[in-house]
Symmetry: C2
DNA sequence: ATTTGTGAATATTTTCACAGCG
DNA sequence: CGCTGTGAAAATATTCACAAAT
């Protein structure tokens, strides 16, 4: 899903399925909340509800980690918090650098959820000289000229890119060259990285588009058809020509000077 | 994946698989970039590379939309942009409200990727009276007292929650009561919503945790075992007791006053 | 009595590989 | 030819349902 190319069966290693890995943080969050309320044990049913999944799935997920529950009783909260943390690698310290300190970068820097897990914001990096030295969330911003040095000195292996899309790839290249092997990308671009480097992306507008899709569906279903909008099923095989840009029409093409690519994203 | 309970076959309607829907925005972005460079056609191979997927998957995805390509040639860029936009519901205008105007909310408000698709930031809402009237990204912040009125007046059906976790559920409840049926949640909480309301979540720290998992794997593989860290396979069935919080130990339990739950997230 | 852990059944997603069309 | 569109196969993921454990 993120690794370079065909390489290993993706879900390799001791073979915890990717889908399960993606849910572990969810369970961990729910468990941490219970832990804080000093709840000693939970059943799969309760925990599943708190995490927003169904209990069969949760039990199956946990079964990949080992037999950490007690039949007839449930799971010991503290014990499970520890086991999941360990599995996720959160029992060790992960220094992280955030590159691009605009609104988003600042939000990330101040985000409590990082510090409370094994993550430590080792440095904030921005290309704007005016930002250099300015403290954001209590951490002084450093200039991107020093990127390589910072990464080497702190032994950083995880980088967060919160720059404008236009410079994301070059920032990525520098991070990778400097030794970073995991990247969380907020810029709306596909990053290409060498094999062995993991990239995960968070694209704010993609999520909205998925919502729009479902929203549209709801509107179309609610009463046969909509006024202006297309009705439910625009039969496959181009039944809906007419107001579509005449297929193959190579001429001008609409789309103002605001299309999308250089996405303004705060830097 | 977000709808209330067992209800409809999830991937219902004209039956575009969820996995495909989730990739359409990706294709759209790549196509828009091509469109801006006035590229008239693309092959599945090229487009797949630009979108970061493999070409068989892309062709399969497009096959759910209809036969929009030309054998031996490829896909007409403009035509495909239109078809995907329409499928995603982006040919109509979606007014969106953002609740919680901290760093994150401000980043979202200024995010170019919204405006460039069918999304229009109809209002920014914050509970802090000091924020009221202050323009953020050119839009004046409104007070949350007026939330219901704003949603009704603008016919908003999509809401973005960027508040602290502690108030996310109540904000959600108000949004839903006021008529919002799709929610994008950035607060690290599981929101419960009535049937028929879609929720998608973006959790910044979850993504990092998934990266940490893979990062840990890399470290463990690279040379048999690690110094301090656990080696690759902590055999199932609790082989790894010892430094774990004695199972069932109900007493104190570690965990400072910084656990996680009330997550500080900027408001 | 409960509630876990898990095989087996089902559903979904990805990938292969090639017929068919332009 | 080259490239799409798609059945069929393979791989993943989810759900069922119940035996086993406390």
């Amino acid at each position: 899903m993120a690794t370079g190319r065909t390489h290993r069966p993706a879900t390799r290693s001791r073979g915890i399925p990717e889908a399960t890995v993606a849910r572990l943080p969810l369970y961990l969050r729910a468990l941490t909340a219970l832990s804080e309320r000093s709840v000693p044990t939970v059943s799969s049913e309760e925990l599943a509800a708190a995490a927003g999944v169904n209990s069969a799935k949760l039990r199956k997920d946990f079964s990949y980690l080992g037999s950490y529950g007690t039949r007839g009783v449930g799971y010991d909260v503290e014990y499970l918090v520890y086991q999941i943390s360990r599995e996720l690698g959160l029992t060790q310290d992960w220094p992280v650098v955030i590159v691009g300190i605009g609104n988003l970068g600042a939000a990330l820097a101040g985000y409590g959820g990082f510090a409370s897990r094994g993550f430590r914001v080792a440095a904030l990096i921005d290309a704007d000289p005016a930002m250099t030295g300015k403290p954001v969330a209590g951490i002084p911003v450093q200039h991107s000229d020093d990127l390589e040095k910072i990464i080497a000195e702190d032994g950083v292996s995880i980088g967060v890119i919160a720059t404008p899309a236009g410079v994301a790839q070059q920032v990525c290249d520098r991070l990778v060259a400097a030794g970073v092997t995991s990247i969380l990308n907020f810029a709306p671009t596909v990053l290409s990285v060498p094999d062995g480097v993991d990239v995960r992306k968070v694209d704010l507008s993609i999520e909205l588009q998925i919502l729009a899709f479902h929203e549209q569906r709801k509107a179309g279903e609610e009463a046969g058809a909509e006024p202006g909008a297309l009705p439910s099923a625009p039969a496959p095989y181009a039944a809906t020509e007419g107001d579509a840009p005449a297929r193959g029409g190579k001429g001008g093409g609409r789309k103002g000077p605001d299309g999308d690519a250089p996405a303004v994203m705060p830097a």
